[in-house]
Symmetry: C2
C-alpha cells in the first residue's frame, strides 16, 4: 500500500480574499477533545456562539447560528427556506457572487430578475430602489462585498424600500463580516449570511447566519405545510411546496438550536469550537478597532502598490477595504508571478474570475492575515518577483511608502 | 460585555453511537496551519484523501470524496442528484434513519414506496428483492446499520436485483463505515454515504461518499439540462428538472474534485486534514484488523452487561457489532442513570428515538472509543450507578466477565 505521509503543510502567508490564515488560538481550539452534541457543556458553547454572533451581526434577532457547511450552504439555506417556487427575486449583480445568488435562487424555483452593472462599479441606492418599486419582488438578494471585483455595495435605503413593498431583504456578507461593519438591524436586513474563512479567520466549513421575525414567519408557514398536508392531499400547488432541502431546512435547524434541541444533524463540534474562538477574538479586539485595523493595512498596501507604479482596478469610491485588485501590467504573465510568489516566497495572492481572469490580481487583507508584517512581506516579494519577470519599476519605493503609512 | 471563557471541555468517555471520541492524531491534524484551496500542496492532500476513501469503501470508483457537511448532507447530495421529481424510490425501513431517507427522498420530489418491518429486526434478502421486482423503483435506498435500533441489514443479493430491474442502489453506511465492512463494488452498490463521527472517529462536519459510473451517468444527464436548455425554453417538464441544490450538486462537486478543479465552494481545510488523518489511521490499522477489534470489544461489553443481569434489545441475529442496545430495567429512570454517568463519571451513553425513547439505552463501541479501557470503565460505572438507583444486581460480576473475554 502506498504510504501516506505525516501531515506537514508548508508555512504560508495567505493574502488572498479567502481562505486566509487562521489565528493560532482558533487552530488550538480545534485540537481540544470533543464533547457529545447534547452534552450540557456543549450546548452551553452553542448558546455562547449564538450570543456572540448577535454582536457580530449587530442584531437583536433571536436566530443567529452557523449552518454546518461552507459559506454557500448558508446562502442556500436562507434562500431555499424563504423562496417558494414562482416567487419573484431581484438580484442586483456587480460581480461573480451576484451570479451565484441567481443560480441558487433559480434552483429554488424563483423567477429571477437580474439587475446588472459593469464589473468594477456598484449600484446607486436609487438604481436598486427603483428596481424594487418597478418589479415588486418578494425578495431582494444582494452581495455586500464582491471579492471577485473588490467592490462594496452601500446598503442604505434598500431595506426601507423592501419594507415598503413587503419584500424580504437578504444580504450576502460572506466577504465583509468581521472586517467591515454589517449593521443588520439598523439597515433593516431580514437575513444575513457571513463567511468564516475570510475576515473571521476561521477555517471554511461553517456559515454563520442571522434572520429576523419577518424571515422566520416565512419559514414557519412552510414548515406547517410540510407536516402532512401536502403529502396527504397529493396537492402539488407550487405555492404550497415545502422547503425542498432537509439538510438546509432552517425551520428544522432553528429547532435544533433552540432550547428544545430537536435532533437534526450532528453538530460539527470542532468547527463550532473554532467559530466560538474566532468570535471571542473579534469581540476581544472590538468591532470598531477591528474595522480600523483593516483600513490601516489596506492603506499601507495601496501606498506600496502605487509606489511600485501598479494601477488599482475598479472605481475607487466603492473599493472594499479588505480586498485590493491590481491590474496585471502589460507584458507580465500574471500566473507566473503568482506561482513564483507561492513556490519561492510561500506567499499566496489570487487571480480572479470570468471577464477578469488573467487581467487582475487580488490581494486580501483579511482577519489574521491583515497585519503589518504580512503587508510588508508581500510588497517586498511582489516587487522582487516583478523585477525578475522583466517588469520595469523603481526598486525600494514600495516598502518605503508602506513604512511611511505605518509611521515607522 | 459578558466574558466568554477560554475553551476547556471536560474529559469525556464517549460511548454513544456517535459522535465518539476523536483520535488525538486527528485532533492534532486540525491544529496545523491551513493552506489555500488551490495551493498544489492542498490539492495533493485532497487527491490522497480520495485514494484512501476508495480503499475504505472497497471500490474502484473514480469518485470518492467528502461532501462538506455532516453525514446527512452526503445523503442529500446523493439523493438530490439522482432522484428526479416523480421517480419511484423504494425505502425499506427498520428504524429511524430509514425514515430520514424517505424524508429526504420526498423533498427531492420522489414517489416514495415504504417497506416497513418491526424495529429490532431487519429484512430478509427475499423481502427486499420481491419488493424491488414488484414496485420496479428507479432507486432503492437502504440503511446499512441502524444506530436507532442497533441492527445491521445484510446487503447480499439486493444490488443484483437492482441491476436486473435497472434501479440504482444507494446505501447509507454512516454508522458502519470504518467499523464494519462496506464492500461497495462486490455488493454492486451504486452510491454509498459514510459518516465521519462514528467508526472513523473524526469530528462531524464531513460526509465521505462514493458513486459509480451508473450514478454518474444520471448526474451528468441532469447537468447538461441545467446548462441552458430548461431555462431557455421555459420548459417545466418535471422529468427534465435540474438538480435542485447548488451546494449539494454532485455534478459540480465532482468537477471541483477533478483535475479541472472548477471552483465551487471553498474546501473545509481543517476538516479535510482531519479526515485524511482519520483515514491514515484506519489504513495503518488495517480494515480487517479494525473490524475484528470492534467485534472483540463488543464481545466483552455484552459479556459484562449480561453478567450484570441486563437484557439486550432486539434480534441477536442482526445485531450490529458497533452498537449495543440494552433494555432499561423496570423501575429504573433511564435518563437519571445517563445523567449520573455523565455528570459524575464523565461517561456518555445514549438513549434512543421514537418508540424506543425511554425504553433502551444504546452503547457505542466505535472507532477510537472502542477500546478495552473504555469498555471496562463503562461497565464498572454502569454497575455502580444502577446500584445507586436501587436496581438489584450481583456486584462485581460484570467486570470479571469482561476480563474473562479479554483473557486477563
Amino acid at each position: 500500500m502506498k504510504a501516506y505521509k505525516d501531515l506537514a503543510p508548508s508555512p504560508r502567508t495567505i493574502m488572498t480574499p479567502g481562505p486566509v490564515e487562521v489565528d493560532p488560538r482558533v487552530l488550538r481550539a480545534m485540537s481540544y477533545p470533543i464533547l457529545g452534541q447534547f452534552d450540557p457543556e456543549f450546548t452551553a458553547l452553542m448558546n455562547e456562539t449564538m450570543s456572540m454572533l448577535r454582536l457580530l451581526f449587530k442584531t437583536e434577532n433571536e436566530w443567529a447560528f452557523p449552518v454546518d457547511g461552507t459559506s454557500r450552504s448558508g446562502i442556500e439555506a436562507v434562500l431555499v427556506g424563504i423562496i417558494e417556487p414562482g416567487d419573484k427575486v431581484l438580484v442586483p449583480i456587480y460581480g461573480r457572487f451576484g451570479h451565484l445568488l441567481t443560480e441558487i435562487a433559480g434552483r429554488c424555483g424563483a423567477e429571477v430578475v437580474k439587475l446588472e452593472t459593469e464589473w468594477g462599479t456598484v449600484f446607486t441606492e436609487e438604481e436598486i430602489v427603483s428596481a424594487i418599486r418597478e418589479h415588486q419582488p418578494k425578495l431582494v438578494a444582494l452581495v455586500h462585498g464582491e471579492t471577485s471585483t473588490g467592490r462594496i455595495q452601500p446598503l442604505a435605503g434598500i431595506g426601507q424600500a423592501c419594507r415598503e413593498t413587503n419584500a424580504l431583504f437578504v444580504v450576502d456578507a460572506v466577504a465583509t463580516i468581521g472586517g467591515i461593519e454589517v449593521a443588520t438591524d439598523q439597515l433593516l436586513i431580514d437575513a444575513v449570511i457571513g463567511g468564516t474563512q475570510k475576515c473571521l479567520s476561521v477555517p471554511a466549513g461553517m456559515a454563520p447566519i442571522t434572520y429576523n421575525k419577518r424571515a422566520e414567519a416565512k419559514l414557519q408557514s412552510r414548515k406547517r405545510i410540510e407536516r402532512g398536508l401536502l403529502l396527504a392531499d397529493g396537492d402539488d400547488d407550487p405555492l404550497l411546496r415545502p422547503i425542498q432541502s432537509n439538510y438546509l431546512d432552517l425551520s428544522q435547524l432553528q429547532d435544533y438550536w433552540s432550547p428544545a434541541r430537536l435532533n437534526h444533524h450532528t453538530e460539527a463540534t470542532s468547527m463550532l469550537y473554532a467559530l466560538r474562538e474566532g468570535l471571542r477574538l473579534v469581540l476581544e479586539e472590538g468591532l470598531d478597532e477591528r474595522f480600523a485595523r483593516h483600513r490601516e493595512h489596506e492603506g499601507a498596501l495601496i501606498a506600496g502598490l502605487e509606489a511600485m507604479g501598479l494601477r488599482l482596478y475598479g472605481d475607487p469610491s466603492c473599493k472594499m477595504t479588505v480586498v485590493t485588485c491590481i491590474e496585471i501590467p502589460a507584458g507580465v504573465d500574471g500566473e507566473s508571478v503568482r506561482s513564483m510568489l507561492l513556490d519561492h516566497y510561500g506567499i499566496e495572492i489570487a487571480s480572479s474570475f470570468g471577464p477578469l481572469k488573467g487581467k487582475i490580481w487580488r490581494i486580501g487583507t483579511m482577519g489574521y492575515s491583515c497585519s503589518k508584517r504580512n503587508v510588508l512581506l508581500t510588497l517586498g516579494a511582489l516587487e522582487a518577483v516583478l523585477l525578475r519577470h522583466g517588469h520595469s519599476l523603481e526598486a525600494g519605493k514600495a516598502l518605503q511608502a508602506a513604512m511611511d503609512v505605518y509611521g515607522m
